[in-house]
């Protein structure tokens, strides 16, 4: 044995084991901060980072993650965090944490310093939004747009003095042009039929047949062969007459069908006028007064904004999840002679990251102390076989309670996220029940409950927000006298109730995103509003309809008159033609009959003559 060699091996082994112990916590902290800041594109700060290789323990006293869109705000921050990780998986580049304790977790906190981070040269952070998170952002944008529309909904805008003339001046009534087009088409069609009826060969053919028939003189037919020949001629004429009859029948069918189509096309005029009326009504922004629109106007803004906040959290979660965690997908490597690995058990079939249990505590923006568990945070649920679940609860001054629970389940083919939030018992004193100008009253008393259920399956959203304000009393005196009829009616309607419930439903399960809001006071409002506002709206609608009708009626009458006149003319012409042809055909029929009678007569005569001759011969 080489003693020097043994010493060398021992020294190398000692260095290999010892070097990790020589790396300072500050060095690791700086490296982690830099890596995370590059990925976040804004500063990520860790304070008092401690790493113990012997205990496999990591801790820090504070973590701040700057919001890249507003570097004076943190997306979130944590207080003290402690975690223990498993040793062996680290050798396979897997971080498995059994328990993580996190305190003072808070969302959207203000920063003391600017969190701008200059990306070092040579780094190319992913700045795009991942596809899944992009979908959430598009949904939140749609909901934001719906909220903005609700905020704009003003029933008090509806007035009696809508200037219909100036309104119509800005709108091109399309029905007039459409009727002009129809009139031209009809004129062209009638002209075609006029020419067809006037210049066809039917009448000439009928005259030729008549002439041929007339040329057959019954008086000149003296014997049977001449009669037979005449009959043959007349049979030929009958065939021609039948063909002519068919021709005129076809003409008659085409004529009647075409004329009926022309008449039917007039029916479109009412639809065109109706479309013009709708167009003018849309420009006049006449609202549809129904329970849905009232509920949306009063509570939609609040409820949808709440929902949007939670959707944005999910979007941020997805975006950061994809940025920081990445994926377990291995880069394609050439398999040449690298052999094949046999995985005899699933012992090492672990995800890159798996935090089995997070004990979390923190404070919400409403200063509610919140604590609970987050389980099975991982980058690959198929390997853990468990969805990410969370369950948090807390209370505010011993009165209001908040529970948040949900699951991010990516085990099946469809990614499913569900979130359920219940915030109940919060005080409504000195707050407004709605930001709508229709309810500008502070509350003297009352407690509120909000319950949110949100489920996202693949790209289908189904959500429900229930809001209950109980034992409420409005402070009408401080608001002063109602500023309008609508406000007065609303005040009357709500003064009789001490409980308001509202429900917002948002889903895109069968098409585009739909937002519906209903409340228990909808019908109360509806009855009161319908008495006044609906009458105003109906009146404005009537005036618009009348004005549009008056402008287009002349053109409609013009078209109708054209149809009536031209149709009558053509029908007369056609009847005349038909009569003439029928008369001539009747002559043919008559002649045919006469000829057949003549033939019979000649045959009878011939028979008698023959009989007489025989009798004479035999002396009878």
């Amino acid at each position: 044995m080489r003693v020097k060699g043994l010493i060398f091996v021992l020294v190398v082994a000692a260095l290999f084991i010892g070097i990790p112990f020589l790396i300072t916590d500050e060095y690791i902290e700086e490296k982690i901060e830099t890596r995370l800041s590059i990925a976040n594109t804004a500063l990520v700060e860790i304070e008092d980072f401690k790493f113990s290789l012997t205990d496999l323990h990591v801790s820090w006293s504070r973590l701040q993650v700057t919001d890249p869109d507003n570097t004076m705000m943190n997306l979130f921050e944590t207080g003290e965090v402690e975690l223990d990780f498993a040793f062996w998986p680290v050798l396979w580049e897997q971080v498995i944490i059994n328990d993580l304790r996190m305190t003072d977790f808070a969302l959207e906190t203000e920063r003391e310093t600017d969190g701008y981070f200059e990306i070092p040269e040579g780094y190319d952070p992913e700045t795009g939004v991942p596809e899944d998170a992009g979908f959430f952002y598009s949904i939140t944008a749609e909901v934001t747009s719906t909220i903005a529309e609700n905020a704009r909904m003003e029933f008090t805008d509806v007035k009696d003095d809508i200037n219909v003339d100036s309104l119509l001046a800005t709108i091109n009534l399309q029905s007039i042009d459409q009727m002009d087009g129809l009139k031209n088409d009809l004129e062209s069609n009638y002209s075609k039929w006029d020419s067809t009826i006037t210049n066809n060969s039917i009448e000439k053919n009928a005259r030729d047949i008549e002439a041929l028939v007339t040329s057959i003189k019954l008086d000149e037919i003296k014997d049977v062969p001449t009669a037979v020949k005449a009959i043959e001629t007349i049979q030929k004429v009958v065939k021609e007459a039948d063909s002519l009859k068919n021709e005129i029948n076809t003409l008659q069918t085409d004529f009647r069908t075409d004329i009926q189509n022309s008449r039917n096309s007039i029916g479109q005029i009412d639809n065109w006028i109706s479309a013009d009326v709708d167009r003018v009504k849309n420009v006049a922004k006449l609202p549809e007064i129904n329970a849905q629109s009232i509920g949306t106007a009063l509570f939609g803004q609040n409820l949808l904004a709440d929902l949007n906040t939670y959707l944005e959290y999910l979007a941020t979660g997805r975006e950061y999840g994809q940025k920081f965690i990445g994926s377990d997908e291995k880069a394609d490597k050439p398999e040449r002679y690298e052999g094949r690995n046999y995985e005899f058990t699933d012992k090492y079939d672990l995800p890159k990251l798996w935090i089995k249990n997070i004990e979390l505590s923190g404070v919400t923006k409403n200063n509610i102390e919140l604590a609970g568990q987050v389980l099975n945070v991982t980058n690959n649920q198929n390997k853990t076989g468990e969805p990410i679940t969370f369950e948090l609860s807390g209370a505010e001054e011993g009165v209001a309670t908040l529970t948040v629970d949900g699951a991010l389940n990516y085990l099946g083919e469809e990614k499913t996220e569900s979130l359920s939030i219940n915030y109940s018992g919060f005080s409504l004193v000195n707050s407004k029940i709605s930001p709508s100008e229709l309810l500008p009253y502070d509350l003297r008393s009352g407690k509120g409950d909000i319950n949110v259920d949100l489920t996202i399956k693949d790209r289908r959203i189904e959500s429900r927000v229930d809001y209950v304000a109980d034992n409420i009393a409005f402070d009408f005196e401080s608001a002063g006298a109602p500023k309008g009829t609508v406000e007065r009616l609303i005040r009357d309607a709500i003064s009789g109730t001490n409980r308001i419930t509202a429900t917002a439903l948002i889903d895109n399960t069968d098409g585009p995103l739909k937002a519906r809001v209903r409340s228990n006071v909808d019908d109360l409002f509806l009855n009161a509003l319908k008495r006044t506002v609906q009458a105003e709206v109906d009146n404005a609608k009537r005036r618009i309809e009348n004005e549009v009708q008056s402008r287009v009626n002349a053109k409609k009458a013009e078209v109708t008159q054209l149809v009536e006149e031209q149709e009558a003319i053509l029908r007369d012409k056609y009847a005349e033609l038909e009569t003439k042809v029928n008369e001539q055909l009747a002559i043919v029929e008559k002649k045919k009959k006469e000829l057949e009678d003549k033939k019979k007569e000649l045959e009878e005569e011939l028979k008698n003559k023959a009989l007489d001759a025989v009798k004479k011969k035999i002396g009878f």
């Binding site: 044995m1 080489r2 060699g5 050798l91 002679y337 052999g339 046999y342 005899f344 012992k347």
Partner: protein, 175 residues
Amino acid sequence: MLIILKYIAKLLKALSSEASPPQLAGGFVLGMIIGLTPFFSFHNLIIAALIIVLKVNIGMAILAFLIFSGIAYLADPAFHNFGTWLLENDNYQSLWISLYDNEWWAMTRFYNTVVIGSFFVALFLTIPVFPSVILFVKQYRKHIHERVQKLKIVKVLKGSKLYSIYKGVNRVRGK
């Protein structure tokens, strides 16, 4: 070319050194194991430590490593097939599973067809190679050494002239 000459010189030097035939053979078989198996394997760390710690000839180990690395490149498909046969053999399943479930053994990557195939082939080869090398060294020293020493090429390779050329070339290369 210079490297080949250098190692031929080393081989000749080792063969004629004071090292015993088992030391030379030991170095050779250990180098052979490293050469035949994938280089970055946990067991090669142990083999390398053995080469350093045991009184085996390091030159022979390096020479064997170079020779068998080239052979291994061509033989990898055969190692894969043999490894597949081993790992799929029903008689050894419980052994493989228990090795796989032990983290230390798992570090050896014996669950890989090429690693285990080449390792076992290398182990089997030590049985004939080790005594063969001993025999070769003994026969060389007894019958061939004298004649080889008289060859002109050997004189050139072995003498200080080779060393001065070798150093000279390195200086020109700027090393």
